[in-house]
Symmetry: C2
Subunit: 143 residues, 2 copies
DNA sequence: GCTTACGATCTGCGGGCGTACATGATTTGT
DNA sequence: ACAAATCATGTACGCCCGCAGATCGTAAGC
């Protein structure tokens, strides 16, 4: 009786390949809306809930805190997010989506989900359900 | 009836998080054997089958052909691989593992697999089987 | 033989990223 | 009041990567 587990590629190799396929599939969607990868990630994080500090946002999306500043600058300039000093602690900037930003995010996300569905289209619905549930279970929340 | 599919994170976000967790889990294993990530990938590719050209190897592992030269130099210096001019076409270098290289690869792979099993240890065996099968189905072979 | 094509290698460019450090504004603890 | 901590920001360094030539040796077609 053969052991399929011994012959499969490394988990890491498969995840990397899937990641590359996802990036390739989603790049056109992002480009169509003129949003960068990091921009989309920021919009996604802020759509879930507004953030009280930029450091918290950086932690939430697994980015360096200096790296997201440029992204925030651009999103703010396009009026997709608001970055307002907290009246109670004027060191911190309250971050939230504008209505326009929320709308754009919804559009991009719809496209991203469609691209993902395309990649998953070869699966049975049972396999897809298990796969997505397990993947969610295995992808750790950032501290 | 709630729709769990609408609330889940993007597939891309989950894959990236899982990838980071895998890298973190496997880094100590690689360091213990003094092998770089690229080195391990090369050993893995050559363990499957010897390669007739370095360009073919680069394509197989999704790396730039100039990138792998340094990796091959190091592996050759440690006598883990052989890089011999093809007598029939002396432009190309035949690449294959040495017995030592095959042995080291087996050790590292055992450690890598153990780290991966650790990450998967929270799953039921049915979930794990489906997840790995689907993941393999979704991770495209490089051209 | 001569031209063209191919493989390996080296070098340099530009971009993305993480890290560290410095600064200025502001809050907090004593 | 004063010192220490916190937050956003800017700057600079180094690393890794993909990509585009340029070079050299070799092979293949004419």
């Amino acid at each position: 009786m053969p052991d399929p587990d011994r012959d499969r590629p490394d988990l890491g190799a498969m995840v990397v390949r899937l990641g590359r396929a996802l990036i390739a599939a989603e790049r056109p969607v992002l480009a169509a809306h003129d949003v960068s990868m990091w921009g989309y990630v920021v919009l996604s994080a802020l759509a879930d809930e507004p953030m009280r500090t930029q450091a918290a946002l950086a932690r939430a999306i697994g980015a360096d805190k200096t790296r997201i500043i440029g992204t925030l600058d651009e999103l703010q300039e396009r009026a997709l997010i608001e970055r307002e000093p907290d009246p109670e602690d004027r060191r911190v900037r309250l971050l939230r989506l504008t209505p326009v930003g929320r709308q754009l995010y919804a559009s991009v996300r719809t496209g991203v989900r469609a691209a993902e569905e395309q990649l998953l289209s070869g699966l049975t619905s049972a396999d897809k359900r298990v796969f997505l549930r397990v993947l969610q279970q295995l992808s750790p929340e950032p501290d």
